[in-house]
Symmetry: C2
Subunit: 582 residues, 2 copies
């Protein structure tokens, strides 16, 4: 039969098998490159990972990892595993199909809403596909650990997670099924938790450095996770779905939701409140235009419902209220926008003309920019009428100052006051000090040193492994294609047979020798494919070194090219092997 000789027969020696695993031949490897971007791709990594044959879409937000993609995924997992092992974390593997009950106990069965994939088994038992595993790890440790002597413990897994994203997009950057490293720490004291957190933070720094990722560590709000301290690892990239602020002058960096503004009372003389006739000016734009003042001179009062009760939120007229931030501040209370019906029977609320000076029965929340002593033009609580010289602390009281405005480029750095920069980034890691939230829910206690039960305190730490592939692709790609850091690349060298039999023979010979020396080789030995197409594919696939058997093959001379810099040099086979094994 006509089976190609390069598919191993059973007579291979151990040595031959070992080399074979090191040398991947393009003539046999399932990697189909595409010249055109996929129609649905918006981001660079999505386009390139599909075009270079690393991944293929299976269904919305659900991906197949082809041979080259699987190697990159494995290389990232290996780095993560080594650094997690190095801090003494223990690897386990928990299921993805999880029973409803623990997530009901933590209230996340409800809180996650549509983000959770839910299903029933043949007996009607309710299950979910795990989006993250705090509940289950808490229960595992409750079963396994009895005494303070058994703690601290840090556990991790590299496992498949599920989130039913409303708009899965950007390729593997935000999938509905994805690979994640999640770990959890268990301590008896707050100091212990701080130390577990520190160990993870430093392990993450090492991991991202080894992956060759440019990243920033930013303060974050904890969100649905609960708990206190929390930081995000962000990889700046145009395709990123997160926005963060960065101070050009000091080391401050933060998730936009975590940025604070310093409350600074103002000492100043202001005239008395005066009413202004402002017909038909229910919006800030119409008002500012009518009066000929900047929007920043006006006070915008947004009405919302907090657990059903109407609350007013005051911010300068040129700023937007960040409802996500407001929700975080007021959680677990639920924040909703008001509707026309909410005004019925409320003569004190004049739509479009609300001012805090007339709101006696309404809780008033304001941004710190509305500091005591500042003066505003705002609604007079009468139709077609506003008021000026309305002074915070004199004419109205603020019940709570909360940071609720959408952060903008140029806002002052909370540390040094310099104007902040706004950047887009990919969240590649997130570390949380959860505290006792889950331990309280599941009554996770251990016997303490004094013989009494001690409640355990927890941390939770995640790295998006499949997302890191996309982040790396985003950051390292250039116009020619992907360009992987050495430790992550699917091979160390891409050998190109640029010619006919002579070149192919030399390419295969040097590949065998490199493989035997422990170098991971991808060799383009395809027949009937032009050197030009092979070069284009090599640039697209992005292995860091490209070794070409071309014009001087008869002399045994090859050309070694650096994928990133484009630097080239001519080398003999022995020199090439020496260079690549150095």
């Amino acid at each position: 039969m006509d089976r190609p000789a390069n598919l191993a027969s059973i007579t291979l020696t151990q040595q031959e098998s070992r080399i074979m695993a090191q040398v991947q031949r393009m003539s046999r490897l399932m990697v189909k490159t595409l010249r055109d971007d996929p129609a649905d791709a918006e981001t660079l990594s999505h386009k390139l990972l599909v075009r270079a044959g690393y991944v293929r879409r299976n269904s919305a937000g659900i991906w197949t990892w082809l041979p080259l993609g699987k190697k990159v995924l494995d290389n990232i997992s290996r780095v993560v595993r080594e650094e997690m092992d190095a801090i003494g974390a223990q690897e386990v593997l928990l299921p993805a199909l999880l029973p409803k009950e623990p997530y009901e106990a933590s209230a996340r069965w409800e809180e996650y809403g549509d983000l959770l994939f839910r299903l029933k088994d043949r007996k009607g038992g309710e299950y979910l596909l795990g989006p993250t595993h705090e509940e289950i790890f808490t229960l595992v440790v409750k079963d396994q650990v009895a005494s303070y002597k058994d703690l601290p413990v840090m556990l991790y897994q590299i496992q498949t997670k599920y989130r039913d994203e409303a708009r899965p997009r950007s390729g593997v950057l935000r999938g509905r099924e994805f690979q994640m490293k999640d770990s959890y720490s268990f301590d008896t004291t707050d100091e212990g938790l701080a130390e577990s957190y520190r160990l993870h933070r430093e392990a993450y720094q090492k991991i991202f450095a080894r992956l060759g990722l440019d990243y920033r560590i930013v303060s974050a709000v904890s969100g649905a996770m609960g708990g206190s301290a929390s930081e995000e690892f962000l990889a700046p990239a145009a395709a990123g779905e997160d926005t963060f602020v960065d101070c050009p002058a000091c080391d401050y960096a933060a998730n936009t939701e975590a940025v604070t503004f310093k409350l600074t009372p103002v000492e100043a003389e202001h005239g008395p409140v005066e009413e202004l006739d402002t017909p038909d000016t229910p919006t800030i734009e119409t008002l500012a235009e009518h009066l000929g003042v900047p929007a920043s001179a006006t006070l915008k009062n947004l009405l919302v419902k907090v657990d059903g009760e109407i609350v007013a939120v005051g911010v300068p007229g040129d700023r937007e209220v960040d409802l996500g931030k407001l929700g975080e501040h007021l959680a677990p209370a639920v924040v909703e926008l008001v509707t026309a019906e909410d005004f019925e029977g409320r003569g004190d609320l004049v739509r479009g003309y609300v001012g805090p000076q007339g709101l006696e029965k309404v809780r008033y929340i304001a941004d710190p920019r509305v500091a005591p002593g500042t003066s505003w033009i705002t609604g007079a609580n009468k139709i077609n009428t506003h008021a000026k010289n309305v002074v915070a602390g004199r004419d109205f009281e603020v019940d709570d100052y909360l940071d609720v405005v959408v952060v903008e480029e140029g806002d002052p750095c909370p540390q040094c006051g310099t104007g902040l920069k706004l950047d887009r980034a990919i969240e590649i890691g997130h570390i949380f000090q959860l505290g006792r939230k889950y331990a309280d829910t599941f009554q996770l206690d251990v016997l303490g040193q004094q013989g009494k039960p001690v409640r355990v305190t927890m941390g939770s730490y995640g790295i998006g492994v499949s997302r890191a592939v996309a982040a790396l692709a985003e950051q390292s790609a250039d116009e020619q294609g992907l360009c992987w850091p050495k430790e992550i690349a699917p091979a160390d060298v891409h050998v190109v047979a640029a010619g006919k039999a002579l070149q192919t023979e030399l390419a295969l010979d040097v590949s065998q020798k490199l493989g035997a020396a422990g170098v991971r080789v991808l060799v383009d030995d395809r027949a009937g494919v032009s050197p030009g197409v092979k070069f284009t594919d090599a640039e697209l696939i992005g292995v860091p070194k490209i070794l070409v058997a071309g014009r001087r093959s008869a002399e045994g001379v090859l050309e070694l090219k650096d994928r990133r810099t484009g630097e080239r040099e001519e080398l003999t086979v022995d020199e090439a092997i020496a260079r690549l094994t150095a």
Copy 2:
């Protein structure tokens, strides 16, 4: 703070980190051994894997792999991966959450029935959790492969599978979420498929040999997979859910469902049919007792419905009909048992007294034991009446001879006629020549050598990775506990500090040295645990070598024990290192 010193701090050198990953300290490892068997455990592997702290049940048939269990799982995966790579198979990773459509096209969305976990996403799209991936691999190859030159291709993944078993039991032996290696071959010719099949068969032989599993390769029926040739790899074990037959005289072995009986017509003189008055004998037992004959002299006629039509199945009265086998033979027709209603209006069918000689309008299927020329006592198609001297081929015709009886110990070997042995086993691997079934469904063609489309032919090959853990545990355990083969064990040596500070110091010292020499060490350095408990735990955990720092620790002398044979010898530290690194 009071953090134990053995949890790595960030100041560890690379070298120290490497050793740390080689040396696992029981004082910090999350492994809680149990003295008693779990209440719900029926099989040896279930009991021991739970008691030794390798796995814990999460929900019915869904398991958590604790640190020791994860290591064993990884070791098996590594062996599988190496041997799959060695035959040129390419590793990929497909999703577990799969869209309904391809499984509808193959009809398995229906055929799998309750075995399939089904769910909907937030938009109402229907999905399943993959029980096996033939459909999706066919589509991946259809997308990636265009020409005969791109084939053959063999692809594999080690991935999580889901089957909603009616009665998940036996621990990780039959789970609802489990790890499997599945691979798929794609060829243009039948000879190519035969070669891909042979390569897999030989790789499986190497894998199971390296895992240290005792196994048999048996002929199998293909079942719901479809296709032609198929063999199972069975690991004999009392806990096995499969029964297979084994010939003590020749090399024949088969799944009981695949055993055949040779049809041998009998030349003999028989008297004419005679009716017998047999009041109240509607069963074989009552009939045989009434007449004083062995059950084997009677003919049992089972009525079933095949796609709604009544069919009679004749087997010797002492044998049982294997409905599973019958279903396999008649697939895709559906076989059901008859109910009382089916007899309405059928005067020709006298319940309890059916005989084939009177069934003119009913299709008659018989076991080859009811060969032409054999004579039987059977129903006379009249109430309370039987007939004797009813001869196959003379008094009734058999429409189809099919092997449908339940195989029994002592049945003749189809190859050599020797009485067969029946044994229980665990199915650890299964290889199929699928042929063109899925390629037909999804129109998987490639451009052939003659420039015309050629339909692809496929193979499908599976190894139960998590099940192999249980099979290994079943086969290698003894009364003291688990007893792993070296390549699979969670460590190479289990060092026991059997005493106080002196012993612990020696144990940790030799562990560090062994770790530095590349030996994987589990060291029991727990304080406040007696040597007796440590010895019991070491036997239970089942690392192949146990090195004890005990009475002669002051002299630097340790005792090395072989876990399986119990052989012991005293060695110095250097001798122990030399022995364990040999």
